[in-house]
Structure formats: C-alpha cells, structure tokens
C-alpha cells in the first residue's frame, strides 16, 4: 500500500508507485484496445520528420494548439484598467465564466465580469431584454462607476445592436441617464484578443471624446496594450515617466486591479484610469501606444481627433527602451534625466557580464505580435538568433515588419517568421530545425516537453508558475529581470545536463 498518513503521496508521485503502474498497464492491455506500442513509436518518430512537417504546414482548415484567444477576452482585460468599471459581456454566459477563469488563473487574482446570460429564446428574439434587465442588476448589485459592454459571438451572429440596446435600457431606467456605458462589438470570429483590446479602448474613448471640443495641452496619453505583465510593467512605466517629469495619462491601467492586497477585504475594484482623466485625455498632445498591434484602431481614432500618435512594440531591452524614452522626451519637451543614463548603463553592464552565455544561442519565440517583435529584437541585442518567430494572431503586415526587423541585424539572418501558425506547427519546426531555447507562455510546456527545448515563460498566460507578472519586463530595470529570467533557464539547463555524479558532472561548475 503506497499511501500513508506520515507521508501523504499525491498525484505528483502516487501514480509512479508499482501498484498504480501495474494497474494502468493492465488497463491498457486488457481494456483500452490501444494502438500497438510499435505503431505509437512509429507515428511518434514520423511526427519528427520533414515529411510530417510539410503536411503539417500545409494545413488550411484545422488549428491545433493555436496561441491566441478571442476578442472579448481583450475587451474584458481592457475594461479592467478603468476606474470602478464592470465588464458586461452581452451574449452566452459560459463565455464570461471562461474569461474570468482565464484571467484569474494567470494573475492569481479575482476577475469580475458579468454576462447578459442569453439563451435559446434570446437567440430567436434578440437579447434586448437581457440588456435591459442585465444593466439594471449590474448597476444595483455591483455599484460600478462605469459598465463596459462587449459581445460574445452569439450576440454578433444574431446581430444585436449594442448602441440601440443600451439606449433602450437607459430609457427604461436600468441605469441613470448620465451613467457611462461605453461599448464595443467584439466578434470572436474576427481577429483575436489583441483586437478586442483595441476596440474596447476605442469604444471607451469614443464614449468620452465624441462630441467634445478638444483644447490641446502638453500631456501625453500612453496606451499599454494587452499585457499579462501589466502589474509590473505599468508601475515601471509610471516610475520612468515620473523620473522624466512627463505629464501623462495612462489610458487603461489594470496594474492595481490585478494586484490587490490580502488584508481581510475583497476589493471588487481597484485603481485604473479615472473617468475624469479619460475624458480629459482628449486634450492631450499625443497618444502613444506601447503595443502597435493592440491599438491600430485606437491610434487612428486619436489621430482623427488631432493628436500626434506613435507606437512601439512592447519595448524590451536597450534599443527599444532608448527609442521609447527619446520619443516621449521629444513629445513632452523634457530632457532625459541622468538617472536613466545610469539605469541604462546598468542593463548594458549586465548584458556584457553574461554575453558569453547569450551569444549564438538560438531561440523560437511565439506569442502576440508585439511581444514576438520585442523579444526577437532583445535576443538579437544579446547576440542571440531568433530562429523561429511565430504569432498565431500575426498578420501579413506583421510578417513584413518582422522581416524588416530581422534583416536589420546579422543575428536575424537565418530567422523565419511564421504568421498565422500554431503550436503544433511549432512542434514540427523544433523537431526539424531545433533551437536552444523556447520563449512563450505556459502553453509552450507541451512543445517543450516533446522536443526537449527549455521553455522561458515571458508572456500571457502563465498558469504554472507564480508571480512572474508582478515584475516588470519593460524599460531598463525590466530588462534586468528579463535578462535574469533568460539566464536562469540557460544556467539551469547547463547544470541539469551535467548533474549525474561521476558520469556527466565534469563541467558541473561552481562559477559560471
């Protein structure tokens, strides 16, 4: 009997005990009618070949382990970055349970959102009553200052019109006349979560800006984009901007919402861009996006309103941070403070200290388009080679932009860009053209296991490691954290590959 009260074994070890191994072998042999061991081995080997890779890359219809989510997730995340705002997703209710779970699993924090709980009758007659009743209940129960409405694909397919529904609900007294209810249509069958983020931000801005007179000032708006590291990153960003003495408004800041303290009370709402600041942001001189591919429509809208715009790709590392800092300084008309010179120098110093372990390392990088761009750039900065750059939600235009980035450096020479491909494609790529390191999120752990490529978890979602998102990746200080995360995986692998005493431990070095 393997189990005991003294040493309780759970799933991590229990099923390796002989009793369970024998039982599972017996189950397989007598009850499962499995494919033969030989067939499994043969197919397993076949999936590692170029022939399989070609068939895999020729897929046109099925998506296998795609690294993207759907629009409303981005909209719910976006709404979480505004003061006392409740997300209201119009459509089927199961979707909202999924978004909330997804965000909670990553942040290890509460994630609040409501659904209009449409069912079969609403599919036939439309969801107007669900909107009317739903807004009234949300307003009464959860005391929000703003309700941000987005849609599931059910509401989109039947063609519910948010604007008229919301006005109807207002007329019926579900919410006060002046209550703020921005909205965005977020069909799941178009784009991905990064687009949902974009249209919800635009929806919020339209709600506050349309019909208002703009009287320009010297402030800068900054839109961070969909970022699972917002907790660490936004705080770092604000620190840098304060250091520079820039007058700014972060448009959408979920850093406090997804990082509330444990002190005995549950805060449904925390932090976020105030509604007053959001409205006043119309007058800003410029709107700067930290993630171009998350904010295309938002930036167009800001430009329409007469603001200067600029966008970045999730600035990671030295060069990307330099560009951000210089652009902000230029827009705001401030000097870059000496403190940033020091921070920059420290990051460069750290990279120099570790360059021998980084130079020539090959990487596969996947994630959202801006992240992949940023990471490829950082890798090349350290002398690494971003061999495979993959974004399931990357477009043709993204692919071209990536090609331009890669051809700007000798370290990008052999690199390939994979727009629209998924993680089952990536598996084939890593078997046929292996790399040293894989950069992505928790979903990468299957490819990592199958191909033996160490996984560096640096982007949303990270379910199976805790608290990474609390530390910044952007800026010079964030760069140190990023660098250390990469190096830890490199050093851990070196040690793990040489940790059998008397056999493989010749270079089990104390100092590296």
């Amino acid at each position: 009997m393997p189990q005991s009260a003294e040493r309780v074994l759970d799933h991590a070890t229990l099923f390796r005990e002989p009793e369970y191994r024998e039982m599972l072998a017996r189950k397989r042999d007598t009850m499962e009618c499995p494919a033969s061991t030989e067939a499994v081995a043969a197919q397993s080997d076949h999936t590692k070949t170029w022939a399989y890779r070609e068939k895999n890359l020729a897929r046109e219809a099925v998506s296998i382990n795609p690294a993207k989510a759907c629009q409303p997730l981005g909209a719910v995340f976006a709404a979480a970055g505004f003061e006392k705002t409740m997300s209201f997703v119009h459509g089927s209710q199961g979707c909202v349970a999924y978004y909330r779970s997804h965000l909670s699993r990553h942040f290890k924090e509460p994630a609040s959102a409501v659904s209009s709980s449409m069912t079969e009758d609403a599919a036939v007659f439309g969801g107007l009553n669900n909107m009317i009743d739903g807004l009234a209940n949300t307003y009464a129960l959860y005391g929000p200052k703003m309700i941000a409405v987005s849609t599931t694909c059910m509401a989109e397919v039947i063609g519910d019109d948010l604007q008229s529904f919301i006005e109807n609900a207002r007329a019926k007294g579900s919410i006060p006349q002046e209550f703020d209810v921005p909205y965005a249509h977020t069909p799941a069958f178009v784009g991905s979560h990064v687009d949902g983020y974009d249209v919800m931000i635009k929806g919020v801005l339209e709600h506050f800006w349309d019909g208002q007179e703009r009287s320009p000032n010297d402030k800068i708006n900054i839109v961070p984009g969909f970022d699972g590291f917002c907790v660490g990153n936004n705080r770092e960003l604000k620190r840098i901007l304060d250091l520079m003495g820039v007058s700014y408004t972060l448009i959408q800041d979920a850093s406090d919402q997804f990082d509330t303290p444990s002190d005995g009370s549950f805060r449904m709402y925390a932090g976020g861009t105030t509604l007053a600041d959001t409205a006043a942001a119309l007058n800003a001189k410029a709107t700067v996006s930290l993630q171009h591919w998350c904010t295309r429509k938002t930036l167009d809208y800001a430009a329409e309103k007469g603001q200067e715009t600029a966008s970045f790709h999730y600035p990671l590392g030295v060069g990307a941070t330099d560009e951000l800092v210089m652009k902000i300084a230029a827009l705001a008309g401030v000097d870059i403070p000496a403190a940033l010179d020091l921070e920059r120098g420290r990051l460069v110093d750290a990279i120099a200290d570790s360059q021998a372990y980084l130079h020539g390392k090959t990487y596969a990088i996947y994630g959202d388009p801006d992240f992949v761009h940023a990471m490829a750039r950082f890798v090349m900065e350290t002398g690494g080679e971003p061999t495979h750059c993959l974004a399931t939600n990357g477009t043709k235009a993204w692919e071209e932009e990536m090609q331009a980035l890669l051809s700007s450096s000798p370290f990008g020479k052999g690199a390939k860009v994979w727009a629209g491909k998924d993680l089952w494609h990536l598996r084939s790529l890593l078997f046929t053209e292996p790399v040293d390191l894989l950069v992505g999120n928790s979903y990468g752990k299957y490819v990592s296991r199958d191909t033996g490529t160490p996984l560096i978890r640096l982007t949303f979602p990270i379910f199976d490691r805790h608290h990474h998102h609390r530390f910044p990746l952007i800026g010079y200080q964030g760069g140190l954290n990023l660098l250390r995360t990469v190096l830890d995986v490199i050093f851990d692998k070196l040690d793990r590959d040489g940790d059998v005493a008397g056999e493989t431990d010749i270079s089990f070095d104390l100092t590296r």
Partner: protein, 504 residues
C-alpha cells in the same frame, strides 16, 4: 454518520433577506426561490428517493432555470458541459471545438482529466483542436471547412480512434448540418465521428450539455459495432468519474481489489472501446449522477444494465458504497469488499488520528457543480468538520432531494448563487473554509478565509478512495492551518491572532 449538529436557521434566513434587499424587486422575487435554509426532514424521511440512508433535511429550492442577466452567475454553458466535462476526457479521440477560437482556448487543459498515453500520437486530451471560425465561415457556413478539418486531422493523427465535433454558439445559429458531415466523413475515414449540438446558448448551464453529450453517446457510439468483447460475471463500468487528478485510478484500485472487473471508465482516461462495450457490463456504477444519469437510464432500458449511485469520498461513504456495490454481486464479492475495507482501516485510522484534531469543529461552505456539493460532505464529517452552507451551479430538483441525505437542518442552501450573494453569505457566516472554484478562490482568500478549489482539487488530488482521502485531509489541513492567515493585519493594527497549528 455523526452529522448531529444543527446550523443556525434564523441567522441564515436573515442573511437571505439581507442579500435579496440589494436586488431590483422583480429579481429579488426570482432569486428568493433559489435560496433556502434546509428544513427538518418530514415523516417519510426513511423512504426518500435516490441514495440509501436516512434523510436528514429537506433542501427545497428552485433549480435548473435561466440565470438572471447581469448578476455574475458562476455557471458555464452547454459546450462546457459537453466538451469540458463529458467528451473532452475521452483520450483516444480528437475533440474539435467547432467554431471560433475562444471556447477551446479557455477550456484547454483546465479540468485536469488525467490520462496515460502519448499526447498528439495516441492521446489528445490536453490539446486545443479548433476549426477557428473566421467571418467567412459565419457568412458562408462551416460544413465544408469541417470536412476539411476532419481530413487534416486524419493526416496529423492517424492513430486516433475517432473524432467528436463540439459545437460552439454560431453553429446552431448559422444552420450548419454537422450531422451530415459526420456521417459522410465517418464512412470515408472508417472511424466514429460524433456531432454534438452543445452550442453554449442551449439550456441554462452546463447541465444541458451533459445531457446532449449523453444522447450523442447513445446515438453515435453504443450498438454501432461488434466489440468482440467477452463479458465476465463481475464486469462493471464506472460512469461519471472524470479522473480529475487521478480520481478514477484511486477508485479503480478498490473495485479491482474487491474482485470486480472495470471494463470502462467514463470518461476520465477512457478510450472509445471502453465506452462501446458498456452495454455488455453487469452493472453501471455512477459517481457523478448529474452529468451521466441519462446514459445509465438508457442502458438500463435498452440493454438491461442496472445502475447504482455510489460515493468514494471519505471512509464512511467509501465503506458504505463498497458494501452496497458488493451486495449486488453476492457473498464472494462481499467478503472481498470486507477484506478491502479492513485492509485500509489502519490507513483511515492513522489519517483521522493525525488530521481530525487539527480540523475538528471547523465550518465549511461549499459551492460546486454536479455532485460534490453533497458527496464531499461526509468526507469533511469524517474529519470532524461541519458543512454550514452548500449549493450547486447546475443541479436539478433530484440533486437537491439527494442533498437532504447529507446536510443537517439549518444549512444555508443556494442555487446558481451570484457573486454578490456568495460574497455576502461568506462575509456573514465567516466559515473556516470555503470550497468552490477558481473564480471564487481569490475574493474569498482576500477576505482572510482559507479556500480550496473543489473542481480541480486546487491542482492536487486524487480525492477519491482511501488513497485520496489521505490527500484530501492533508490539503484541508494545509489550507486551514497555514500561517499566512495570521499575517493579514500589520502588527501596528493587530486584532486577535487566529490559533494556528504548525504543519506536522
């Protein structure tokens, strides 16, 4: 059962009145019917339906009706009930999330249905396979794409034994004929293809998805081929055990040790063959009644296979269930069951001796899904803990009837509870532990109340069987007696520190 305490009915009634006061009138009235305090059982307490044993209370709430819009229901949808619960764990089939990318993405690898096998080669549980609908698929229909998806899956995964098509919301709205595609392609590739109409807008919760999934097993899996299986006298199928954290394996050991042959496990770690042969079994053992009673009733009617509910949480129920199951097979199996129970008694005694003193008298509130809101009650009771409130996301009336066998009068009962209600109930009752899901975990913990996820076992498990009971006891102890709960107040603001016990 030592469920001899009583909960404070008057206090709980007041709590209900308080939460309802926050709603607009129309909805206060509707929610009122879903909230109740368990009443003392009536005169016919010993002749109650469902599981055997004395009825302790009556849990009379309205259930299985639409959620109110805008209230933060914790429920999911039909797709979650079919793909997420019933079909997803079948390991040698590829399950297509048919429609846009999100549903399959959020449910990817999240239910911890353990399985043995080589993922992507002969097993496919922890994969997200989707037709990733684009606007053109909505406009022009997705049937052609679906046919192509199936062809490509054959190319990628030739060792799969079949395919299920899990419909997402748009499928039913745009009028696709997935049944026709399934029939045609099934013939072409010579494999089982199951079309499932589990669009998320159908029904009011996960529950209809379970039912629809059961019906598709009936219509597309059973009686479709000669399984070539040689039945034996002690063949049982385990139904409604999803092998979360290995639950079904901890259960299987006990059933095998008492001389039974488990010819299939539905659907955790299941292969298609295990499901196909179930009609040849002697008895269907059903753990999650809510999600799979339909197929048991079908096999009873059509194939004459009787079914029996059982409960493998905690030693009291394990012993009672093993005896009940053994009785069905006669003295030889009964003797073996007694031997199994006896062989584990020292483990049970040691676990209870170690953990009961650390947990005695602690109060628990539960809010889970299909069976655990009642099934785990006695496991807590075995450790000296008492349930002060419980409720279900998607139960039906027969579940609440069965709940009366487990909870005492005065217990707060909440059906399809809203985020607002649950928070207020927990705030009011301040139990020592809450067992619910990921969406509830962090709000509760921030209130300073220990919490365990009771869907995923909070990444632990198994909790079934004797091996699982030891883990269950350890986990509850870890949750309640962790020192972190004493760190909430800064020393300069300190109130009374809770009494903690160091880990042993």
């Amino acid at each position: 059962m030592s469920l001899d305490h009583e909960n404070d009915a008057a206090f709980n009634e007041a709590l209900i009145a308080e939460v309802l006061s926050a709603y607009p009138d129309k909805f206060a009235k509707r929610r009122r019917k879903h909230l109740a305090v368990a009443k003392p059982a009536g005169a016919d307490a010993d002749a109650a339906p469902g599981e055997e044993g004395h009825l302790l209370s009556e849990c009379d709430v309205k259930s299985n009706v639409k959620s109110i819009p805008g209230v933060m229901t914790i429920r999911g949808c039909s797709y979650a009930g079919s793909k997420g619960v019933v079909w997803g764990p079948v390991k040698d089939m590829v399950h297509i999330s048919h429609g846009p990318v999100g549903c399959g993405h959020y449910s990817w690898s999240q239910r911890r249905n353990y399985y043995s096998g080589t993922t992507g080669i002969d097993s496919f549980v922890t994969m997200q396979v989707t037709s990733d609908f684009q606007e053109r698929d909505i406009v022009f229909g997705g049937d052609k794409k679906l046919a192509k998806v199936i062809d490509e899956l054959e190319e990628m995964f030739p060792l799969s034994r079949g395919i299920s098509i899990q419909s997402e919301c748009p499928i039913g709205l745009i009028g696709d004929d997935i049944e026709a595609v399934a029939k045609k392609k099934g013939k072409e590739i010579g494999k089982t293809i199951v079309p499932v109409r589990c669009e998320g807008f159908r029904g009011v919760s996960q529950s209809l998805g379970h039912h629809i999934a059961n019906d598709t097993i009936r219509d597309w899996v059973l009686d479709k081929k000669d399984t070539g299986f040689e039945p034996g006298p002690y063949d049982v199928s385990v139904i409604g055990d999803y092998n979360i954290g290995g639950d079904a394996w901890a259960s299987r050991r006990l059933l095998e040790d008492m001389g039974l042959r488990v010819i299939g496990n539905w659907s955790g770690d299941a292969t298609l063959a295990e499901m196909e042969r179930a009609p040849l079994g002697k008895l269907n053992l059903i753990h999650c009644y809510r999600s799979m009673n339909y197929i048991c009733r079908h096999m009873e009617e059509k194939h004459g296979v009787p079914w029996m509910e059982y409960n493998l949480f905690g030693p009291s129920q394990i012993a009672a269930s093993l005896r009940k199951i053994a009785k069905h097979f006669g003295p030889e199996i009964e003797a073996k069951a007694e031997a199994v129970i006896a062989s584990y008694q020292p483990l049970v005694d040691a676990v209870v001796a170690k953990y009961r003193p650390r947990l005695e008298g602690k109060s628990v509130m539960l809010y889970v899904g299909g069976l655990r809101s009642r099934h785990v009650v006695t496991a807590y009771d075995d450790l000296g803990m008492r349930i002060v409130g419980t409720g279900y996301e998607f139960a039906h009336n027969d579940d609440y009837q069965r709940t009366g066998h487990y909870v005492v009068p005065g217990t707060l009962i909440y059906d399809d509870v809203t985020g607002y209600e649950l928070e207020k109930f927990i705030e009011g009752i301040r139990p020592d532990l809450v067992g619910s899901g990921i969406k509830e975990k962090y709000p509760v913990q921030k209130m300073g109340i220990p919490f365990r996820q009771m869907h995923s076992w909070d990444y632990s498990g198994p909790y079934h069987g004797y091996d699982g009971f030891a883990i269950f006891a350890r986990d509850m102890d870890k949750a309640i007696n962790n020192p972190v709960w004493g760190l909430f107040d800064p020393p300069w603001k300190k109130k009374d520190a809770p009494v903690l016990q160091a880990a042993e």
